[in-house]
C-alpha cells in the first residue's frame, strides 16, 4: 500500500467542464500548500471560506479557499479545499502548483481511505461514499445515504453487541466453574441467538432487494413475433437518454440495455428469438426467450392491437398471472381490432412507431419496479455483495449454534457455541472493518475515483 502520512491533492469534482470545480488537499502540508497557492503568509482561519486569488503556473484564478484543521476534517488530516471556476485547465494548473508546493497526486479513493484509517468512517461508510458517487438511480442514492449515515453500521453493531454479551456470559461460566452456577442458561443462550439470527436474516434477506437497487431490475419484453417488441424496446431506449451501460445479453439473441426509466434502474431485455424462429432454430429461440421471461423481475407483454388476440397469446397472459407484469397494446396508431369484451383489461395503448404511450409505459415499468423493492419497509437495505456474503456467513454460524442448542436430547458444549459466536462476530466485524485484511482495503479503495 501507499504512504498515508504525506500530503495528497486531487480534483474532487467530476472530470469535464462544470460551473465550479473543487481541488482538495489533505495532509500535514495542506495549510502550507494553501499559503503557496494564495501567496499568503497569515494562517488560515478554521472552516471559513476565504475569497482570494490563487496563482497557478501562468494562470491566476479567483477562488474560495477553506481550511479544515485535523482531526475534525473529512480525512482527519489538515484539509484544504479550493473552489474555483470549473475549467479543467484551471483546476489542473492548481493541482500542478500544489504538487510543486509539496503535495503528491492522490490515488483513487485515497481521501476516503485516510478517513477510514483515521477512524472517521467505518468501512461500510467508506464504501457508501464510492456507491454514492457511482449512483445512477434514486434508490441507489437512498441506499448509499443510509449506509453513509451509519444506519447499516448501527444495525451491525447492535448485533455484534448482542453476540459479545453472550460470549462474555458463556466464558464466565466456563472460566469460573467453582462458582457452581452458570452465568447464563442454555435456553437463554438459545433464545438470544435465535433473536440475533432473526435480525440478521432480515438484513440478509434485503440483499435480494439490494441487488435490484445495485444492478437494476430485469425487465423483459415478451410476446409473439411481429407484435412490435423490438420497436417498443427501441422506443423505450430512445425515449430515455439516461443509458448507463449497454451490457451484452445473456444469450446472443437477447438484447438488453441497462438504463434508468423514470428513476428506476432497470436492465431492459428484448427477446428477439421468438420472431426469427421459422425453422428448427425456433425451438431453441423460444426456449431462451421463455427462460428470460422466467427469470424476469417485471415482464412487459406486447400484444398487437391491430389484429385479434391469438390463442398462444392468451396462454402467455395466463402464465403471467400473479407476477409483476404490464400488458401493452401496441400499434395503437392503427384501428383497434379487438372485439368488445374480448380485449385485455388494463392494457396500455402504445404506438412504438408514433411514440404515443411510450412515456406512460415507462412510468408503469418504474412503478412495477418500485413495487418490487418497496413494500416490506425494512429501513436498511444491504446493497453491497461483500456485506451480503459476510452477513450470510455470520448468520450461518449463529443459526448453527442456535440449532444445536435448540435440538432436544443433547447440547453442544459451550466452548463450541462460543466458537460459532466468535466466528459470527468476526464476520460482522469484517463488514464494518473492525477486523480487516489489508488486501481487502486495497480492493475496496481501488473501486473509487480520484478525489474521493
Amino acid at each position: 500500500m501507499f504512504s498515508t502520512d504525506d500530503t495528497i491533492v486531487a480534483v474532487a469534482t467530476a472530470a469535464g467542464h462544470s460551473g465550479v470545480g473543487l481541488v482538495r488537499v489533505s495532509g500535514p502540508a495542506a495549510a502550507a500548500v494553501g499559503c503557496g497557492l494564495a501567496r499568503r503568509t497569515a494562517p488560515w482561519p478554521a472552516r471559513r471560506a476565504v475569497r482570494t486569488l490563487v496563482a497557478a503556473s501562468d494562470l491566476t484564478a479567483d477562488a474560495l479557499v477553506t481550511f479544515f484543521p485535523g482531526p475534525a476534517s473529512y480525512t482527519g488530516d489538515d484539509v484544504l479545499e479550493v473552489s474555483a471556476h470549473g475549467s479543467p485547465v484551471i483546476l489542473a494548473a492548481i493541482v500542478r502548483r500544489a504538487i510543486e508546493l509539496g503535495a503528491r497526486p492522490a490515488r483513487p479513493g485515497e481521501f476516503t481511505l485516510r478517513a477510514f484509517l483515521r477512524g472517521k468512517v467505518d468501512l461500510v461508510q467508506a464504501e457508501a461514499v464510492r456507491d454514492l458517487v457511482a449512483a445512477v438511480s434514486p434508490a441507489q442514492v437512498r441506499a448509499a445515504t443510509a449506509q453513509l449515515d451509519g444506519s447499516l453500521s448501527a444495525a451491525l453493531v447492535e448485533q455484534a453487541e448482542a453476540l459479545r454479551r453472550l460470549e462474555t456470559l458463556l466464558e464466565a461460566s466456563m472460566d469460573f466453574p467453582d462458582e457452581g452456577y452458570r452465568f447464563i442458561e442454555p435456553a437463554e443462550v438459545h433464545a438470544a441467538l435465535a433473536r440475533v439470527g432473526e435480525q440478521m436474516a432480515r438484513l440478509v434477506a434485503t440483499g435480494g432487494r439490494g441487488q435490484l437497487v445495485r444492478d437494476g431490475a430485469r425487465v423483459v419484453i415478451a410476446g409473439v413475433p411481429n407484435v412490435g417488441k423490438s420497436s417498443v424496446f427501441n422506443a423505450l431506449v430512445g425515449a430515455d437518454r439516461a443509458i448507463v451501460t449497454p451490457i451484452a445479453g445473456t444469450t446472443r439473441d437477447i438484447v438488453s440495455e441497462r438504463m434508468v426509466i423514470d428513476g428506476a434502474l432497470v436492465v431492459l431485455a428484448d427477446t428477439a428469438g421468438l420472431r426469427d424462429g421459422v425453422d428448427r432454430v425456433e425451438a431453441e429461440g423460444v426456449r431462451r426467450a421463455s427462460g428470460a421471461v422466467e427469470s424476469a423481475d417485471v415482464v412487459v407483454l406486447v400484444l398487437d392491437g391491430s389484429r385479434e388476440i391469438l390463442d398462444e397469446e392468451r396462454a402467455l397472459l395466463r402464465s403471467l398471472d400473479g407476477r409483476p407484469a404490464i400488458v401493452a397494446r401496441n400499434k395503437a396508431d392503427l384501428p383497434c381490432a379487438w372485439a368488445a369484451g374480448d380485449g385485455v383489461v388494463g392494457a396500455l395503448p402504445v404506438s412504438a412507431v408514433a411514440g404515443d404511450g411510450v412515456a406512460a409505459l415507462g412510468r408503469a415499468i418504474a412503478r412495477a419496479v418500485a413495487g418490487l423493492s418497496g413494500g416490506d419497509g425494512e429501513a436498511v437495505v444491504v446493497t453491497n455483495e461483500r456485506h451480503r456474503v459476510l452477513l450470510a456467513r455470520a448468520l450461518a454460524r449463529v443459526r448453527h449454534a442456535a440449532a444445536e442448542l435448540g435440538a432436544s436430547g443433547h447440547q453442544l458444549p459451550e466452548e463450541f457455541v462460543v466458537a460459532d459466536i466468535r466466528a459470527g462476530l468476526a464476520a460482522l466485524e469484517e463488514v464494518t472493518g473492525r477486523r480487516t485484511a489489508d488486501t481487502l482495503l486495497d480492493e475496496i479503495f481501488a473501486g473509487f475515483c480520484i478525489g474521493k
Binding site: 501507499f2 484509517l117 466456563m174
Partner: protein
C-alpha cells in the same frame, strides 16, 4: 547453574491454595509437562485428590486439577532439585545485579558474596518490597513469616524499570481437629466432595492413575457471615485505603464478594485439607485481609464452623512487579541484556503461570548463552504462548491469570493434546529426554492406528444400516468408550484416557477444529510480518500520541502482536502495515 533463594527450606512452598491445575491452568501444567517440566510429575506423586473440572462442558475446557499434600509436594521438588546435575543451590539475598554496560554479568548478595553468570533469571514472587496486611496490622514480609527483599526492588527501579504495585490475598487456615465434619454433613450443611474415579493424572508420563486419599467439603456462606463483613468493612485494609496495590478482579477476596455482589445471599466455600498428616484446612473462597478478630467472627458464623479454630488468619500481600511490556517474548528484558524475569514479578499470579514462565525464561537464558535461536511458543501452540504474548503486549493492570477465554484458538489448546502440540518442539532443543520421547512417539503411533481402525471398521446404526466407526463416533450418544465396549479394538495405553480423548474430540468436533485451523493459518500471516526493533512510530500521522507511546513501550515484534496492543484499532494496524511494507519495499528496491 546457581539457584539463589532466601531460604532453601521454602523451595516448593505453596503459600496459597495447595492445589495444582484448574481451568486453563490444568492445560498449562500439561504443556509444562510436555516440555519436560516437573510440575505434573510432582503433583501426581504427591496429590491427594484429583478431579477434572468442567466435565459437564466440552473437551477444550476440561481441566485437570489436583489437591496437593503441600509438605510432600515441597519435599519432592526439593529432592529433585538437590539431585539435579549441574545445579548449585545458594541461600542468600540478592541485593543487586552486576552489569557490564547494558548486559548483566552476575549478582551481588546482601552479605557481599558475588556470583558471576552469563545470564540471570529473576523470580522474586511476592517478595519485592512485600507488605502483608491483616486488618490494620501491616508489616514488611514476602510471605507470612518471611522477610521481604527491599534492595533488589529499589535496584530495579533505579535501573529504570517500570515498577508497579499489585496485591493478592490468602484465606485463613482452620484446624481440622476442631471441626465436626460428620455432624455438619448429616445436618446437611456440608457436602462431601470426592475425587474422580478413576482419577486423571496431570503428567503424560504417569502410568498409573494416582489415588484419591482425602475428601473435601463444600458449604455456603450465610447471611450472618455477610453481615459480619459489612459491620467491620471499615477495618478492612482493602476498603480503608491502606492497600494501594490492585488485586485480581477474578479472584476476589471475601469482603469484595460481599460488598460487590450485595444481591447474592450466599457464596460457595470449599474446605480442603492441606495434606495427609497436617491439621490445616484451607478455606477456599474466603481470602480475607480483615483484622484477625473479625476473621474469627466471620468463620464462626459459617454453618458447621461454629467452633472451628483459626490456626492462621488470612492476609493480603502487596508487592512490586515489573511491567511485563519491558520484556521480549523470550522473557528477556529489553533494557538489560541477558536479564530474564519470570513469575509473579511479571504481574502474574498462580503457581502454574509462574512455572510456565520459569521454564521459558530458563530455556531462553540457556539458549542465549549457547548462542542458539530463541524458543518462543506461539499463541496457536499453547497457553504458554498466549500468556507470554498477553503479558508482553498488554502489560498488567491487575494480577494476570490464565483463562481459556484468553486463547483465540482454544479448541486446539486442549489438555489432552498438549504433548502433540509441544513435545516435538521440546525435543528439538533438548528439553525432552529419551523416556518421554519414546512414550510420546508410541502414543502418536497409537493415535494414527486408532484413526485407521475407526475408518476401517463398520458398526450397525440404529436404523440397521452399517456405517464406519468414524461416522458413528460423530453421533452425540456414541463415545470412544462405547465403541471400545462394543468390541472395537482401540488402543489406549496412556493413563488418564488421553488416547481416547484426543481421538474422540478430533472426530466429534472435526468441523470446528478444521475451521479453527484455517483461522490459525490466517492469523499466522500477521505474526510473520516482523517489525524492526528500531522502528520509529513518532511522526506517523494517524496514530494518536497515546498509541505511539504504547507502541514505543511494548515495541511489538510483529504486526500480529501490534494488533493486540490495547488501543490498537484495525485501521491503525492497516496503517502500520502500509508503512512497514513501504519501508521494506524501499529497502529491497
Amino acid at each position: 547453574m546457581g539457584l539463589c533463594t532466601l531460604s532453601t527450606a521454602t523451595i516448593g512452598t505453596m503459600p496459597c491454595n495447595p492445589a495444582v491445575g484448574g481451568t486453563a491452568k490444568g492445560q498449562l501444567v500439561r504443556e509444562i509437562d510436555a516440555l519436560g517440566g516437573l510440575m505434573g510429575l510432582a503433583i501426581d506423586a504427591t496429590g491427594i485428590q484429583f478431579k477434572v473440572l468442567n466435565q459437564s462442558r466440552g473437551p477444550a475446557v476440561w481441566a485437570p486439577r489436583a489437591q496437593a499434600d503441600k509438605q510432600r509436594y515441597a519435599r519432592w521438588m526439593a529432592e529433585r532439585l538437590a539431585h539435579a546435575p549441574g545445579i548449585t543451590i545458594v541461600e542468600g539475598q540478592v541485593a543487586r545485579l552486576m552489569l557490564n554496560g547494558q548486559t548483566v554479568t552476575g549478582v551481588l548478595l546482601v552479605d557481599g558474596r558475588t556470583f558471576r553468570g552469563k545470564a540471570v533469571v529473576v523470580t522474586t514472587g511476592t517478595f519485592l518490597n512485600g507488605i502483608i496486611h491483616v486488618g490494620d496490622d501491616r508489616r514488611p514480609a514476602g510471605r507470612v513469616g518471611e522477610p521481604p527483599s527491599v534492595h533488589l526492588g529499589e535496584h530495579l527501579r533505579a535501573l529504570g524499570f517500570t515498577v508497579g504495585r499489585l496485591k493478592t490475598g490468602t484465606p485463613p487456615r482452620l484446624s481440622r481437629a476442631s471441626i465436626d465434619f460428620d455432624r455438619a454433613v448429616s445436618a446437611g450443611v456440608f457436602h462431601v466432595e470426592h475425587g474422580d474415579e478413576p482419577s486423571v493424572p496431570l503428567s503424560f508420563l504417569t502410568e498409573d492413575a494416582p489415588s484419591n486419599t482425602v475428601v473435601c467439603w463444600k458449604l455456603h456462606s450465610s447471611t450472618e457471615s455477610h453481615g459480619a463483613v459489612r459491620r467491620h468493612i471499615a477495618r478492612s485494609p482493602l476498603y480503608n485505603g491502606q492497600i494501594q496495590g490492585i488485586g485480581p478482579r477474578y479472584c476476589p477476596s471475601f469482603e469484595d464478594k460481599v460488598m460487590r455482589f450485595p444481591d447474592r445471599d450466599r457464596h460457595l466455600v470449599h474446605l480442603e485439607p492441606e495434606g495427609l498428616d497436617v491439621d490445616e484446612i484451607y478455606v477456599n473462597g474466603m481470602s480475607m485481609s480483615l483484622p484477625e478478630d473479625v476473621q474469627r467472627e466471620v468463620i464462626a458464623s459459617l454453618p458447621g464452623l461454629e467452633s472451628a479454630r483459626v490456626l492462621r488468619p488470612g492476609y493480603a500481600v502487596e508487592y512490586d512487579f515489573v511491567q511485563p511490556t519491558e520484556l521480549r517474548h523470550t522473557l528477556e528484558t529489553r533494557r538489560i541484556g541477558r536479564l530474564f524475569l519470570a513469575g509473579q514479578i511479571n504481574g502474574t499470579s498462580g503457581y502454574e503461570e509462574a512455572a510456565g514462565q520459569g521454564l521459558l525464561a530458563g530455556v531462553n537464558a540457556a539458549l542465549a548463552v549457547e548462542g542458539r535461536p530463541a524458543f518462543v511458543v506461539g499463541r496457536h501452540e499453547g497457553y504458554l504462548g498466549v500468556m507470554v504474548d498477553d503479558l508482553v503486549s498488554r502489560g498488567c493492570l491487575e494480577p494476570y491469570r490464565l483463562f481459556t477465554s484468553r486463547a483465540e484458538h482454544r479448541l486446539h489448546l486442549r489438555a489432552d493434546n498438549a504433548d502433540l502440540r509441544l513435545t516435538e518442539r521440546g525435543r528439538e532443543i533438548g528439553l525432552v529426554g529419551d523416556a518421554r520421547w519414546d512414550a510420546f512417539q508410541a502414543r502418536r503411533a497409537r493415535l494414527t492406528r486408532n484413526r485407521d481402525t475407526l475408518r476401517r471398521v463398520s458398526v450397525m446404526a440404529p436404523s440397521g444400516a452399517r456405517v464406519t466407526a468414524e461416522d458413528a463416533l460423530k453421533w452425540q450418544e456414541v463415545t470412544a468408550g462405547t465403541l471400545l465396549e462394543g468390541g472395537i479394538a482401540l488402543e489406549h495405553a496412556a493413563a488418564g484416557g488421553f488416547d481416547l480423548a484426543t481421538l474422540q474430540t478430533e472426530i466429534k468436533y472435526g468441523g470446528y477444529l478444521r475451521r479453527q485451523d484455517a483461522e490459525m493459518r490466517r492469523a499466522l500471516h500477521a505474526e510473520f510480518q516482523r517489525i524492526p526493533d528500531d522502528f520509529v512510530y513518532r511522526g506517523l500521522s494517524g496514530l494518536s500520541a497515546e498509541l505511539v507511546q504504547r507502541l514505543e513501550e511494548v515495541r511489538p515484534e510483529s504486526l500480529g502482536q501490534a494488533s493486540r496492543i490495547p488501543g490498537m484499532t484495525p485501521a491503525a494496524t492497516v496503517l502500520l502495515n502500509a508503512v512497514l511494507s513501504r519501508k521494506s519495499a524501499e529497502k529491497t528496491g
